[in-house]
Symmetry: C2
């Protein structure tokens, strides 16, 4: 029996990390640059990011946030204001020390004009934005301040990987200031819900929502909430975080205001962000051994039409038919926008072209040849299942919006089932060890919250607590800690992670 | 007679540079940060930039360009590849030399982990993007490559000024690769026309299109085309540039391809950009002594409604009426989008609120009080002329789209007349000297193109050639050089500039 051929080599099952790189290459999403750890996001990858930005930006504005822009550089003394924060970020940051280059006399350029104070390229902007907020806030009347920034940030990672961990990446960072602790916490939760909705409804990527343990918390935060998604290798990806910062950064940046009863108070802040890392998640949740699969709500193109022309005499009528179908598809509409459709009329091998679009994850690939012109039909490849079918053009066009919506749902459902299959309730330490010895996945346990155990599990299995699960409907769940046998109300999810 | 009061002090006529700063402050557009030369773009300023981005991005995509993203950092050796280029940018660039901070033993953080090769924070991306292009281009079939990038760039300017000249600024940079010189030149001209259309049709800012002299050319370019706009102090602002780079950068980055007849060739490239500097231009072209005036096609909000409530008993019906009018305004539509309208219901002094919105340049400010409820009327302030009028709500709503369109045209026309009044055809050196001794403005002369004269005029009057005017309709204009008396076909525009 002939081995089934696939677009990507190696297969997921053979070498997941290498498969990931090849999906990115096949999808023409991004590439490494010569600059250590910095990637080039190619047009197809960037178009995906633009769609993500458009949707998220709309959500942020709908919840009352405005965009603004703050300096790329952070003076060293700002970073030092928050102790945990500086400790975390000082280890991996790009430091600007000079403002000029000059010839060294031997024909080489060397840095010149040293700065009085070194500047850090922002790894995150709490401290620099806090500086502005301290000028903007005077009275409780100025609150809340609800700001978002779309920006590039730099963390000098030692081991980088396209989208998942790069020295420079693109992201949004929300920063808000509130009068009360309760309001800041409510904001933190509201934005996590935004991320959940975006991940599930647009990326078709099921996520668990929860809170980080102290060990995994953002440096300087009081609470860090997160969404976690299971990749197809059973590992977890932290896909977005929302931090309740208490008064830690407000104290450091002196964000103070005159309160309702006239006394000066320290404000409460939150911050939250998602990044181009989401694209890495999208790839690892949905792609198959033929390459990328894009959810229709984020795909830069929904349908690609490939004209099939074997004889020159067919060219004109086939191309005419393609254009007719293209126009009808465009006006069909999906998700409140026109359907994005493209005729790939490039003059080379049709099979190669088809596999290019398969690798780019376009939801529907439509091949149109002379027989389709005669029969007014279309030959469709549904990318996410690789099913082929023929239909009359009329029926196809009438159902197109529904079909795309169904693909979107189908992708979510498939990912949800995968997670369900790879998620296990674990009640003892032995079961825990067996689970993580033999496979990856989510191990759910009751846990008393002992940092020593967390560290030991990390050491032994490279497994961490991805999140503490929220109590469903305020219900007071309770059970036995898998590690200590003690009664506890805290339920956590363990996994290997990116 | 009482002196007329104004929202901004000093007046334009008293101190233009300080007036400019105060307009920015009054409009809440941006502020200086503690980081040398880096600005904070506040929500109202950023919303303006977002509108500019939306329109420009649409234009770029319509002309076949895709967005992509390239590294923030440029290795020193890349910059060195193009000689003129490195000379220009080495003088003013942020140099990253270290990848970590560590405690120095006396409790202070100092840069650690020196990089093997310093990195430059991009001042422009020809060299780093060229590196990718050299990998992407193999055959003439891969051409043209039409890429745009939205990004932050850094040039370590010594004297900075909000929006006009900042160490970090936001921009877009187009970079394209072509098979032939003619195609690259056509692209250069096409994108200049995009900029002209954007400046005139959206910013309501009349511009001259032309070419830079060798002295003012982009370092490394063969030709630099530009749009130049006259500010209200008679100075010129270079508002956008489009460069035909010939094969200079393609040679430096080895962008080569196998041509139609099988031989390896060097490609032809272009680059073009506009930046947040445009906001500075918008301010200086349109604002008056009461502050900012925004053209409707770019205003983040078109109409602000101020409820006028003197007695508590009126509150409910006034607010109800405001909401009714708001809904009707929103659905009125303008420029293919909903009219952006906002009720400012903040509970403080109505006069202060009104002057805030005047200072922010909202095209129409509508005050609604009890009498308006009774008469179903609206009291309108047309910002760009400061005219007030009352109208029935019906008539106002019916005409709203037209009124906004009329404001847009009126603003352009006013700016065009100002430029006409301050632009003079000059035929002799004496006339030239008289013109620039006493005032600012555009002096138009025939000019043989002598660099010595250009340098002397710059030295003496701080005046440069803003552009060489194109020959209208290919017509062969000809005249006498104002400086040498020689016959020439080259007509140029001189001015002081930003």
């Amino acid at each position: 029996m002939e081995k089934k051929k696939h677009g990507i080599s190696p297969l997921r099952s053979e070498n997941f990390p290498e498969w990931y790189q090849q999906v990115i290459k096949g999808g023409d999403l991004a590439e490494n640059s010569d600059v250590r750890g910095c990637m080039v996001i190619k047009p197809w990858g960037y178009a995906l990011w633009e769609n993500m930005q458009r949707v998220l930006d709309g959500m942020f504005k709908e919840t009352g946030h405005s965009n603004a822009y703050f300096p790329l550089f952070i003076p060293l003394r700002y970073l030092e204001k928050e102790a945990e924060h500086v400790e975390a970020f000082a280890k991996e940051c790009a430091v600007v020390t000079h403002a000029r280059l000059q010839a060294d006399g031997r024909g080489k350029l060397v840095p010149a004009s040293p700065l009085e104070e070194p500047l850090i390229v922002r790894p995150t902007s709490e401290t620099i934005i806090g500086e502005s907020f301290s000028r903007w806030v005077h009275s409780y009347r100025d609150l809340p301040i609800l700001i978002n920034q779309w920006a590039n940030v730099v963390r000098w990672e030692m081991r980088t990987r396209l989208f998942l961990r790069t020295s420079e990446f693109l992201w949004q960072e929300g920063h808000t200031v509130h009068e009360t602790s309760a309001e800041a916490e409510a904001e933190t939760e509201r934005m996590l819900e935004c991320y959940r909705a975006f991940a599930e409804d647009y990326m078709a990527m099921p996520v668990l929502c929860g809170e980080k343990t102290e060990m995994e918390r953002f440096p300087g935060a009081v609470r860090t909430l997160c969404i976690e998604a299971m990749m197809q290798d059973g590992k977890s990806l932290q896909a977005g975080t929302s931090h309740f910062l208490g008064q830690n950064f407000a104290r450091a940046s002196r964000i103070q205001f005159v309160g309702r009863s006239g006394e000066t108070q320290c404000a409460w802040t939150s911050s939250w962000g998602v990044s181009t890392r989401l694209i890495g998640g999208l790839i690892m949740v949905h792609s198959d051994d033929d390459g990328l699969i894009l959810p229709p709500r984020l795909a830069p193109r929904h349908v690609v039409i490939l004209p099939i022309i074997h004889r020159e005499s067919d060219r004109e009528r086939v191309l005419d038919y393609c254009q007719k179908i293209e126009a009808a598809i465009r006006s069909a509409g999906y998700d409140g926008r026109p359907v994005e459709v493209h005729i790939d009329g490039r003059d080379f091998n049709g099979g190669v072209k088809k596999w290019e679009w398969i690798g780019k994850g376009v939801p529907l690939i439509v091949e149109l040849g002379p027989r389709d012109v005669e029969q007014q039909s279309v030959a469709v490849l549904r990318r996410y299942t690789m099913e082929k079918y023929s239909a009359s053009a009329d029926v196809f066009l009438r159902n197109l919006g529904d079909e795309l919506a169904q693909i979107q749902r189908g992708m979510f459902e498939r990912a949800r089932l995968f997670r369900e299959k790879n998620m296990k309730e674990i009640i003892s330490k032995q079961e825990f060890e067996e689970f993580f010895m033999e496979k990856s996945g989510y191990g759910v346990t009751f846990f008393v919250g002992d940092r020593g155990i967390e560290e030991a599990m990390k050491e032994k299995f490279n497994v961490t607590i991805r999140c503490i699960l929220p109590h469903k409907n305020g219900e007071n769940q309770s059970g036995i800690c898998a590690f200590t046998g003690q009664q506890t109300t805290q339920k956590v999810v363990w996994a290997k992670s990116y």
